[in-house]
Symmetry: D2
Subunit: 339 residues, 4 copies
């Protein structure tokens, strides 16, 4: 059930509804919007009676939920969520660019890339300290040592750190060093990890699973939000199909399709979709064209030496070119979209 | 084998090589480029000896083919092919927009849409007279009567007519009335139809099959070119995947991936990929973003009454908006791409 | 609409209904069943009034069609269709085995394989005279010369000839020499070819398209039946998926799923699904296990020298082993299924 | 590297090799086979020099690994692994049948199903106490209470308990109550969970991910084995494709394809592939036909009331029928396969 507050409802009235919900042994999720606050109610095992809520002070109406999800939906919040990350954000007017190497390999490599990312004007730095590799014999990441290098990058360049957590223990550490937690495609339905991320104070980037439907992806976000963390960013990174000229097939339509259902920001990962360096720039532009709120791309100072995913990494120079092209595009498209 | 002519080779020398090829019982395909002419040789059942050609007057070198295709490849022609369609073209600097209803239903409907397409500034009009429908009980198109209506549209608005041929007999008729032959996704590997289109004097738009790899699609184009028709335009229209929020998954990466292998122009069909009206504009923009040479979109004056694919048709108003947005984008991207 | 005749309706009463249908400008399809005849009515553009039919002599009831197909459905005929092919058949108690080389290459090769097929006890011989090849540079088949060799095989061994037609012209020739027309996966939605096959007196094997849903496949069969040819056999041959250890993914569930909707027999092509010789026998057995009415397999006397699909061809010896294993299985399963 | 011991090598010689490996800071995995023991060496970051090993006492030869996996491969153990589960086993001559409800709902329901499973002659009982559900609002399982009910079932019927662990904490509990740990499809690349299962003393059933290639699946098993748990059973449960008449597409070819590469047993889950009750029996038989070592099926005493996946559950009666049919088939096929 959604309890929609009146436009002029005050904090005490919102609090009053929450208290009623709590007294019923249920959970209240209050998301303030530009015009009004909506309170999502979860935890009930059968439909609730709207009359329990719609006469409470400050309540406009109580609405039954008809979709399989509640908190991610536009009924819950009609305007797009802007996820704050310190003095930066994802989901606002500016295109959020998250760039960096697949894996943190060494301090030198990481700083060389970070310098270029910073010069290019991106606000976010990515880099894996824990790598989910298909083979147990492949490089698995530097672990906490990698996280420490990332923290140094933030110190030096002021870039916000985005890094992946593979399990609950790793998430504890990521929380200590990073600004944004990334949940990878292979973990999109690792529900224990989602719940743990939902109890974090950090924003979460949730990648779409390789074979996840839109609904499954949104429900995975719902798992996170249910625990009280409403700062979720969705990330389309390509799906697995028969098509073999790319590593994955970037499903650009997912961006406007999510927008029609959810208030959550959506970003695009052109690198993992492409699998080949030369395809990253066009796919990044396609992402901007469909209205993505940001991009997450892999950049390496020496792709041929990369310990992971070198084939799809942009060189520092290519990254610079990408930044100028996507900015030019975004500058043209933003006003059109707003019109 | 490719016989690459010298930059200053004259027409007589080109003719000389062709004559040698013909005398060997083989087939010569001469494609003049900006700098030089390349002659593709087909019809051989085993590798040819380069020494048969590389000492002929005007020949720079004779090169063995290493890829599964010849005529579509960048080795054959290094610059992009511009397919001329009367005073318009596909593959040049201008974005080619092909718009119109899924099916020609009535003269009134067709003209209502054509008026809007023309006002919007598109140069090409699409409309099906022969419809490949999954069900034999669905509307199959008006046949030759539909083609006549399309010819009237050309007469009135000067729009170039693009329409689908389903079989060899239909192609005879399409040739009589239209400017560009469309081969649909379901017929991408209808090799008899491809060969017949290869003997036509009209350009051919070849849609990618629902589950075709890039290589299969390019080889289908090779079938057409082998018969002597070099004016082939490839069209990405979405592939079939598990993803269910769109009718098909638009594989935007196909555009730059084809570009890396072939000189043929590539356009995007956002309508069949989307399946839903509201997704067409973002997908059209994604197509422009990845560098497509054009768009083919479905427009209807009354989508709810459409006899075919109404859910994905743009209204006349939406079409106008699409034209202004994609033009604005193309204006920004073209100079960047050229840079 | 289906007009269900009474169990004791006589031929004159059936004829009477057909006449009424014809007088309405519609088309009647009478399929006699074990207990009663059902007449399918097609050609109407809007729903028919049952009262036009249910009082005619011999009529039990007239039923509105609620599914997208009519003639293929169990409402039209409740028991399975047995397609007669001379003194053999497909769909009856016996497992129909169709075996032979991918392509007719030479008289010698063809006879060598035919000898083994005949010795193995199969009743049907397959071999392509017209090959749908992805590449125009690949072997395209011997054409009519190949058909003549096939006709000789029938002469010598009494095997029924199954061979593919790629277009309407080829179908004219196939009709002249063969016993069963095969429509390949790439042509499953070549509607002109389907209609032409529907006007043939020969039975048709309709392969499922690489990315066809069950409904699309059944509707393709409906195209054939609508023209009056009710002897259609469906063939599952694997679908295109991301899975790369086989050429295609054999969708064995398609057999019982078709059975729940349609009276048409269904066979399995394990060779094209497998793509590798060693997988053909297990997939053939899987086909028998799910209740397929037959198998169509590729056999070659010298797979390494095969001009087409050698990797998936059974050797003559492997074919012998397959025959004994599938017969043993079929012997156990048939009584269970009947129970 | 594999160190292949001589047929007559004694335990001390095997121990000697292991000691050398350990002294190099590497890890030794000794798998005794029918004829000889092979010792897999892992932990090296660059290729090892065979001469370090091939002159050690009892060593036949040291072989470089050329495939992406080691421990799962036939090079490591040439005969099939038989996974012991108390007095039962998976991978031996007998078909292992694992049956039970999707979820443990109540003691009554669980015992009603267990009674039928036991009467049917199956040796293993399945039932979820922790359910990975796409929606956080769906029934998530009874947790430890469910595990306790399962333990009672073992007590009463002597059935071996197979149940899923969703995370490391859950695995601790599953280990306490169950006989076999199941890792679900969504967790196939939850590498932390795989490693934890690799440190368990219980056998592990590893389901194939919805979009996992064969190689990814085998590498996931390698993650488990690397930690020292060699009792891994692979489970094919259908992959995600465009095909919509089943919940997933059962990839039966995966069984013989795995067999060609690995010594691990493979079972089939027809229930999750089918998604519909009526398809379970044919898919189970297809699994037996391709040589699966076992089946895992969902059975419910009242499918319509099931809290989870009722549509695909067999009734108790259908389960009985399945048991008799698959046994009859297995009885015919086993001797053939052995021949």
């Amino acid at each position: 059930m959604f309890v929609v507050m009146k436009a002029d409802a005050n904090a005490r009235q919102v609090e009053g509804v929450i208290q009623v919900v709590n007294e019923m042994g249920l959970c209240a999720h209050a998301l303030p919007g530009a015009k009004r606050t909506v309170i999502g109610i979860t935890g009930n095992h059968s439909p609730l009676d709207p009359s329990r809520f719609d006469r409470l002070p400050g309540v406009e109406e109580a609405i039954q939920v008809t979709k399989p999800y509640k908190l991610i939906s536009l009924e819950m919040r009609s305007e797009k969520t802007v996820v704050p990350v310190g003095d930066a954000s994802i989901g606002g007017d500016e295109l959020a660019v998250i760039a960096g190497p697949c894996a943190v390999e060494t301090r030198e490599q990481t700083f060389a890339v970070a310098e270029a990312v910073w010069r290019g004007g991106a606000r976010f730095f990515r880099g894996g300290a824990y790598k989910p590799r298909s083979s147990p014999y492949a490089f698995q990441g530097l672990g906490e040592d990698g996280l420490k290098i990332l923290a140094e990058v933030r110190e030096r360049y002021g870039l916000k750190i985005v890094t992946e957590a593979l399990d609950e223990h790793g998430l504890d550490l990521v929380e200590r060093y990073a600004d944004v937690i990334q949940i990878g495609a292979r973990n999109m339905q690792n529900f224990s990890l989602l719940r743990r991320a939902g109890r974090s104070h950090l924003p979460v980037i949730l990648k779409r699973g390789l074979s996840a439907t839109l609904e499954e992806w949104l429900l995975a976000a719902e798992y996170i939000m249910l625990e009280g963390n409403y700062n979720v960013v969705l990330c389309e990174r390509g799906i697995r199909t028969f098509s073999d000229h790319t590593r994955n097939t970037l499903d650009v339509a997912a961006v406007p399709a999510v927008r029609r259902l959810s208030h959550l920001p959506v970003i695009i990962d052109p690198s993992h979709a492409a699998g080949h360096n030369y395809l990253v720039l066009p796919l990044a532009k396609a992402g901007v064209a469909v209205g993505a709120d940001g991009l997450i791309v892999e950049v390496h100072n020496s792709p041929r030496q990369a310990l992971c995913d070198g084939a799809q990494a942009l060189t520092l120079e290519q990254f610079g070119r990408m930044m100028s092209e996507v900015r030019a595009m975004h500058g043209v498209l933003e006003p059109l979209a707003a019109a």
